[in-house]
């Protein structure tokens, strides 16, 4: 600090002289500038001295100190506490007026009392942590159920009064969730179809059953992998974006502003996202199925000696309309889960930027978990339905 002693930046020199004449006591004289620049060296020298000399009484002569700033005060506080920690006593002598003024200004004696640390927060035991975690989980579940209820009510309101829905926002989200995601969905599905065809052909070729590659790719993609892959991509792209957008709006009090203007935040923020996602997810799934079949076709025609017409005919004979619509139905359920989770996590944001980050991560992880869980339930349901 450009302190009261000098406004000119001092050189970083501070000398330590040690006198051991009196047994049981150590006399240390500091001279020069005790400041930000000299502090690290002075601390190192003093710690080395304390480690070497085990004396109960230490006298610190400050007569030669020409300049001190708050870093120097911190050094002196460190001296006192280090000596105390070793069950010794430190006495400061010949304190120049400027140094005394600086020590008074910073309440030196108070600083020498044991206090907080800036690195470790108060720790709690494991039982308390378990309790905090359990309460947090129940609170989150309660909040989720309330949010689910609000979303259902908002959906009913929008269905009964369609003009409540913000059409332009819905179209914008349809573009963001659907059109903008199409290239990556198409590419990944194409590669997935290609990989499935290639890997299955290795086994099927041993039985001369190459043609069933078409069946495997088309059936697995339309019933299972198409909807799941699309859902995972939409969760990563759009679910996280929903959480981040709404979370940022929440911490900047935009959500509160909506509420105070008499606008239902669920209708305003959740419905356009939810309806847009529900509308475009089946279409994205359809594209995913088509591009995966295209990938399989490429492998079948180029590597398995299948004809184009033969591959397509086998695909058509394998699939029936139920399979395609089953995939669409899944896509709708996944869309509801993704948009609901993304918006829920956004509304749960607390704090600042870190809260938004947590919500974004949580939106993706929760969405993927719910997608896989619901898919498992649907598979079991289908199994019993088909007998």
């Amino acid at each position: 600090m450009p302190s009261s002693l000098s406004s000119v930046t001092p050189p970083a020199r501070c000398r330590i002289q040690v006198n051991r004449d009196q047994p049981g006591s150590l006399f240390v004289a500091l001279a020069g500038h005790l400041d930000e620049l000299s502090a690290p060296q002075v601390i190192n020298d003093f710690v080395a001295l304390l480690n070497k000399e085990k004396v109960p009484q230490l006298f610190l002569d400050l007569a030669g100190v020409e300049y001190i700033d708050d870093f120097g005060v911190a050094v002196l506080v460190g001296f006192v506490t280090s000596v105390s920690a070793r069950n010794g006593r430190l006495r400061m002598e010949n304190i120049p007026e400027g140094v005394a003024e600086m020590l008074d200004r910073h309440r030196f004696n108070d600083l020498c009392q044991p206090e907080i640390t800036t690195t470790k927060r108060k720790r709690t035991d494991s039982i308390t942590n378990l309790g905090i975690f359990t309460l947090g989980a129940f609170s989150s579940l309660r909040h989720s159920l309330i949010f689910l209820g609000d979303t259902c009510l908002s959906l009913l309101r929008v269905c009964s009064h369609p003009r409540l829905l913000r059409g332009n926002d819905t179209l914008l989200f349809m573009k963001k969730v659907g059109v903008d995601a199409l290239p990556i969905v198409a590419l990944i599905s194409f590669l997935l179809g290609l990989i499935m065809a290639f890997m299955s052909s290795v086994q099927l070729a041993q039985f001369g059953a190459n043609i069933y590659v078409a069946s495997l790719v088309s059936l697995s993609m339309t019933r299972e992998l198409g909807p799941i892959m699309t859902a995972i991509l939409v969760a990563g792209r759009s679910g996280s974006a929903f959480a981040a957008e709404i979370g940022t709006m929440k911490i900047s009090e935009e959500v509160d502003a909506l509420f105070t203007m008499g606008i239902d935040p669920h209708v305003f923020l959740v419905m356009p996202r939810l309806i847009a996602t529900v509308l475009v997810m089946p279409l994205l799934t359809l594209f995913s199925d088509l591009f995966a079949i295209l990938g399989g076709l490429l492998v079948g025609v180029s590597m398995l000696d299948l004809t184009f017409n033969g591959y397509i005919a086998q695909t058509i004979s394998t699939l029936d309309l139920f399979d395609v619509f089953w995939g669409f139905g899944k896509a709708v359920i996944f869309a509801l889960l993704i948009s609901w989770t993304g918006c829920l996590r956004g509304f749960q944001v607390e704090g600042g930027a870190a809260g938004v980050g947590r919500a974004t991560t949580s939106a993706v992880v929760s969405s993927i978990f719910l997608i896989i869980l619901s898919d498992s339930l649907l598979v079991v349901m289908l199994r019993y339905w088909e007998g």
Binding site: D70, F71, A74, H106, L111, E115, I116, T118, T119, G352
Partner: protein, 262 residues
């Protein structure tokens, strides 16, 4: 001015010469020339949208000048290496305090000390307590920014800005969003720090009460002129300025054509 001859012999620490400031192709301010003297409280004043914050961003190196030069302690800000050295000598208090929300106040203040010094953690802890005590936040070390008021956030931001004992402190609208008492307390804190530490302070504001309390010298920016329309002692300018906008500003008079009171 708080003291007429306080800085009569002080040397300039910031020199702005023929500065043209703006974003992209858009010129916000042009032909700016002024000095900030060592140890003074220098206020950049003006109405909304006149370019105060733009000028501040240029002074702290966040935006490069479109033309002209800014030197701090004779180091030009246009040089990347100089910029790092200069920023090490400066502290900045942003409008919101800009505290890191995931860190406690103590951790916020400790951050620059941990990054720039080789001090042991125990000494950093002591310094943090001293800095927080300096801004009247002793005892709030473990609080998160979300748990304290706006005025306290500003003071904690000030403690962090002062962590490395900067030679120059920049303030972006320090009174914004504060109640009159908190605002007055912050003004007194600024005066106290300037008096006891001798830190040069550059304050961007349009709060007249603060200006009269703290300013040694001001410059006033205008949107239409895209530059400085008045410079000097605020009390003198209020009484004697020939510029009608300056008089209107200091007398808090609304523009008739905007209020329909013509």
């Amino acid at each position: 001015m708080r003291s007429d001859s306080k800085h009569a012999t002080a040397k300039p620490v910031i020199k702005v010469r023929d500065l043209v400031a703006g974003y992209g192709e858009e010129v916000i301010l042009k032909d700016l020339n002024f000095d900030v003297l060592e140890g003074e409280i220098f206020v950049i004043l003006g109405g909304s949208g006149c370019g105060k914050s733009t000028l501040l961003k240029h002074l702290i190196g966040l935006c490069p000048p479109m033309a002209g030069s800014i030197t701090i302690n004779d180091l030009a800000l246009t040089d990347e290496q100089n910029l790092q050295r200069v920023l090490r000598q400066c502290g900045i208090l942003f409008q919101s305090g800009a505290l890191f929300g995931s860190m406690t106040l103590a951790e916020n203040v400790a951050l620059p000390l941990q990054e720039y010094t080789d001090l042991p953690q125990t000494h950093i802890d002591t310094l943090v307590r001293m800095k927080l005590a300096l801004v009247n936040l002793a005892g709030y070390e473990h609080h998160l920014p979300a748990e304290i008021s706006g005025g306290m956030k500003k003071r904690a931001g000030l403690a962090r800005a002062m962590a490395l004992n900067p030679q120059i402190l920049f303030f972006d609208e320090p009174s914004a969003g504060l109640d009159p008492i908190s605002s007055a307390e912050l003004d007194q804190l600024i005066l106290h720090l300037n008096k006891t530490l001798g830190t040069t302070m550059i304050i961007v504001t349009h709060e007249l009460d603060s200006i009269y309390t703290v300013a040694d010298r001001i410059i006033m920016l205008d949107k239409r002129a895209k530059g400085i329309i008045a410079a000097g002692d605020p009390a003198h300018l209020r009484e004697n300025s020939q510029n009608s906008y300056v008089r209107q500003f200091f007398n808090r008079e609304p523009s008739p054509h905007k209020t329909g009171l013509e």
